[in-house]
Symmetry: C2
Subunit: 321 residues, 2 copies
Amino acid sequence: MTGSLPANGNYIGVDVSGVTLRAALVSNAGEVVQRREAPLEREAVAAQIAGIVAELRDAAGIVAALGVGIPGLVNRQTDRVLVSTDLPHLVRGNLHTELMEATGLRVELENDANAGAYGEYQVGAGRGSRDMFYITIGMGIGGAIILDGKPWLGASGFAGEFGHITIDTEGIECVCGNTGCLETVASAPNIVRRTHERLYRDSTSSLSKLAVNKDFTAADIAREARAGDDFALMMVERTGKYIGAAVASVINLLNLERIVLGGGVMEAGDLILNPIIREAGRRAFQPCFEATQIVAAALGTDSVSIGAALLARDAATTMTR
Amino acid sequence: MTGSLPANGNYIGVDVSGVTLRAALVSNAGEVVQRREAPLEREAVAAQIAGIVAELRDAAGIVAALGVGIPGLVNRQTDRVLVSTDLPHLVRGNLHTELMEATGLRVELENDANAGAYGEYQVGAGRGSRDMFYITIGMGIGGAIILDGKPWLGASGFAGEFGHITIDTEGIECVCGNTGCLETVASAPNIVRRTHERLYRDSTSSLSKLAVNKDFTAADIAREARAGDDFALMMVERTGKYIGAAVASVINLLNLERIVLGGGVMEAGDLILNPIIREAGRRAFQPCFEATQIVAAALGTDSVSIGAALLARDAATTMTR
């Protein structure tokens, strides 16, 4: 089976960047053949991945390689995890070796934002562009850059730290130590915080009723905005304006063909995408803005697993040539 | 003479981006052998360059190619000037053809910031780095990116628009149409404007005395700061803080090894460089900041002419191989 050309096999991509592990069996062309989801077993990541790989292989026949998107940084020379705030034991262990031994497959580890970017670039909303900036906005805000078809990782692998662009020099403190980072206003928890802070001024909002009985989430705010609640809509639009100001800086600096926005917060759809585009257009240098398409991600929660699978595909194909 | 290997010849680089035309005869190793300066003849740029090239050739012997840094954008496929606010007739004419015909040399045209960046990268303050962001702060603010040793120009040639990063969402209007661009506070004319606006509050400053008889320049402010005037020093330091906030965004997005700052405003030296580094360190994501060296440009007013000569060298060498 290992004698088969990777181009004829399928690839498995796994996303361990959230509370849910998501795995996909992906064809050579980037189509998802099968999916698996399960609550992430944080203390037994390697064993859990190996188990799901075994399941998918039974269903799939030939599997040529495995890619894993992780919430952290990977040293590409050593395949070791260098930093992971969410899964710190990956730094002490050796996920790459464990997975190779457990599965017998060639294994690629990649930062989750880079993997998601690669998925969108290859078969999602980035398709057909030469250069792309990918932004994911959820519990945190991440970014990744594709230049000439390849991830641009930077001098130490941190390129694309979109969430920590300063957009308000007088803003509140961020976990990173800076003040006024985009993440302090536009990540899901910070959208909820800002909404709570302003809610007392508008007790007619349907969010006020929600807040009486239980806490609400950024997804609730987006839903109420779609349902026509003015206050919720204002919060979504203001969030879009903040994101748009940071997008304008990216456009001015990199003059890329396409900017792709994904993650849970973008599930508000055009209600948030349109204010982002408007504010970016207002703030960016016009010739740069006009060269850039700003679009929503297309792969939803599959972006990281598909991207990880395709990174594994391309690494395998390059090595066997 | 044209049968000689370019590697053995000298190169001529010309900078037509300011009120002074600067030309340099540059060795294959990037050393300046001879310099020429003259007031730029804005309506006869091609003829003026051809005349200076003839002078330098008489002094130099073999000249292998000519590079010209221009204040505008160049289409690299057609060698035509696409946009030039300062020298608009270059867009209507065909500088590349005129120079080839007048000199018989191979000619490379390049945007001034890109040429300056390449000079610093090859033989100046960027030497030894793999990736570099170059910032020039004078009458305007420009930038250019080097990735893996090559200029990164972006989808339409505008990459590196550092001056139009928003650093104050509530700031004043910029010529570009945005509000609160870095250029609205940190270019030389805007440093003078800000200084005038605040000067009435501090009549003990030596700048007050200067202002009585004549206008002052950003260079005067820097000189008074060096001489110990507290008010002038405060203005230089605040300018550095603004620049540092924008530098932090570059560091977060690109995670580059080195950031090189040049142009007239940087002639204030450490008085402005230190506040830039301090503010960037306060605002950037720490692992990105720690991977980045922030340094002053080393080539002074030669950066564009040296860079243009070396771009001509590398284009000629590549083509003859």
